[in-house]
Amino acid sequence: MQKESKSNRFIFPKTPTGVDGLDEVTDGGFPKGRPTLVCGGAGCGKTLLSMQFLIKGITEYNEPGVFMSFEEPSNDLTLNVKSLGFDLEKLKAEKKLVVDYVRVERSEIEEAGEYDLDGLFIRLGHAIDSIKATRVVLDTIESLFAGLDNQAILRAELRRLFHWLKTKGVTAIITGERGEAMLTRQGLEEYVSDCVIVLDHRVIEQVSTRRLRIVKYRGSTHGTNEYPFLIDADGISVLPITSLRLDNEVSSEIVSTGVPGLNTMFEGGGFFRGSNILVSGTAGTAKTTIACYFAAEQCEKKEKTLYFAFEESPQQLVRNMKSIGVNMEKYIKNGTLQIHSSRPSLNGLELHLLTLRKLIREFKPTTIIIDPISNLTLVGSEHEVRSMLVRLIDMLKINNITALFTSLNKQTDNLRPDLAEESVSSLVDTWITVRDMEGIGERNRGLFIVKSRGMGHSNQVREFIITSNGIGLLDVELGPQGVLTGTARKSHQIKKTISDIKLQNEIDRKDREIARKRRVLEANIEALKNEFESAAEELSILKATEELQEKLASKKK
């Protein structure tokens, strides 16, 4: 929407389309009170788009509508859109909708002289007036060209029709079949010049994608890109590429990784809420296990978690995780965890993205896990994958959802990241790599943090082990050749213990020797003391004797 900062700024009046995402692309909807041309090849969804426009107009905006069909009889239409959950009969009975099937069969009609299309005008006018409709669909008016000979009259009348629609003040959709050189076979874009939307249905590498593009929109800004859209059980949804603005709110709240020992590798003690975490690694490096640990941790804290598994079925995942002591079943039962499994090739990237979007809207998770994101690269071209991942991450950021992606990469000697990593590595906030570390006839798993935005983190390569009790990070063991893992770690530990014992023994021996020496010393001291005492005694005897003699001598005098 236009910024309201300038209060007198003109805001182009628009009619919301009711098509998921199209309002964002058109910056609010179709031009109000004007005709919009929707054109495209066969089977690209023109009729559905216009039908959805009408029905949503009735159900969501309380704007009655008229559907004038030149191709399908009313009953067929009712049946066709019923599968998408639209009940035309009910709306018709409520006087919210009029469906008029205009049948022009060339073989039955002859022309003699001048005529006009007043019949059509009157029918349409009557339909509009009878229910006070503000939305009108003409699908596909070009059929008239096949039914009527006099093209000059027809063109003049169409021009009059569109003009008349404008004066009626109805927001109209006119559909047209895609032509060779022009947007439509009969050049309808000449008459409908306010808003032209082209639908397209392409198959690239056996995957079909539908796209929508706004060719022109007078008097309004609009997205100019091709936007993928899809038709599913709820009708059409258009996927705006991205909001393109990076102004989402950030949180400095920390969520625990769930893996014992991994938290301490981050200065903050975990991931930031709303950040994206990429766990990449080669096959069999326990990416899924890490993902499940994270999921279980979040579920434990009553955070709603959505798990997209592109490789395993929910049952398989639950069983496998049970073997390492993670009980995911109870989280599924108490409603904190949802696992969605599908083959990535089931549908195009856009559908995956939309499924995701829908689930986010319905389930409102705070944590999402996509396992693995690299499988999606099989579905589209490099460019498409990249743009889809950008959109995905953008969507998650806006919703402040903590997301953990796993990514399988090929085992290469050089550390060059492959496509999936390359696409997301610049977008993710935290990147953890799990590696195989091969050596002395065994394979061990090592884990390290490649990056962690806004948080200090450990630079160590930590070995981690998986046992029936779960996974755990081991403390770093440094040997002469660097970090030791597996058997090397163990033998190193044994060696260390032996040398420790030896050292202890040596110390004990030294202690004993000193004790002995002390005892000798003490004995010597005792002996000397005795000697001293006996000498002192002798001296005192001598002194006493002398005194006695002196006394005796003095008496004699």
């Binding site: 039955e108 002859e110 002289g113 001048e114 006009d116 007043d118 019949g119 009157i122 029918r123 009557h126």
Partner: protein
């Protein structure tokens, strides 16, 4: 094909002419049709003029798009002619009426 000679004389012709209000073309169509009928189908026809601007339902029922539209319901086969019927020769040919 019907035999033209006995067609004009014996069979009753039924026409429905759809017009809208007082438009010029509608007026021409009525005039032209009357002339044709009076000349070739004297008293052997039935003409119903329907003004769809008043009777809109009829326009839907009979699948009227263009105005004026002439529908000949009898004799079979049904014929639909668009236009003000100014091209008399063509009208006669379509309606299979000989001059």
């Amino acid at each position: 094909m019907d035999d033209p000679s006995d067609d004009t004389s014996t069979t009753q012709h039924k026409f429905m002419l759809f017009v809208s209000g007082m438009s010029v073309k509608s007026g021409h169509a009525i005039e032209n049709l009357r002339k044709i009928c009076d000349k070739y189908l004297t008293d052997n026809y039935e003409l119903e003029i329907i003004d769809i601007s008043r009777d809109t339902e009829q326009a839907v029922i009979h699948q009227i798009v263009a105005i004026p539209t002439l529908i000949r319901t009898d004799p079979a086969p049904q014929r639909i002619i668009l236009g003000d019927l100014s091209d008399r020769e063509k009208v006669l040919r379509i309606l299979n009426i000989s001059e």
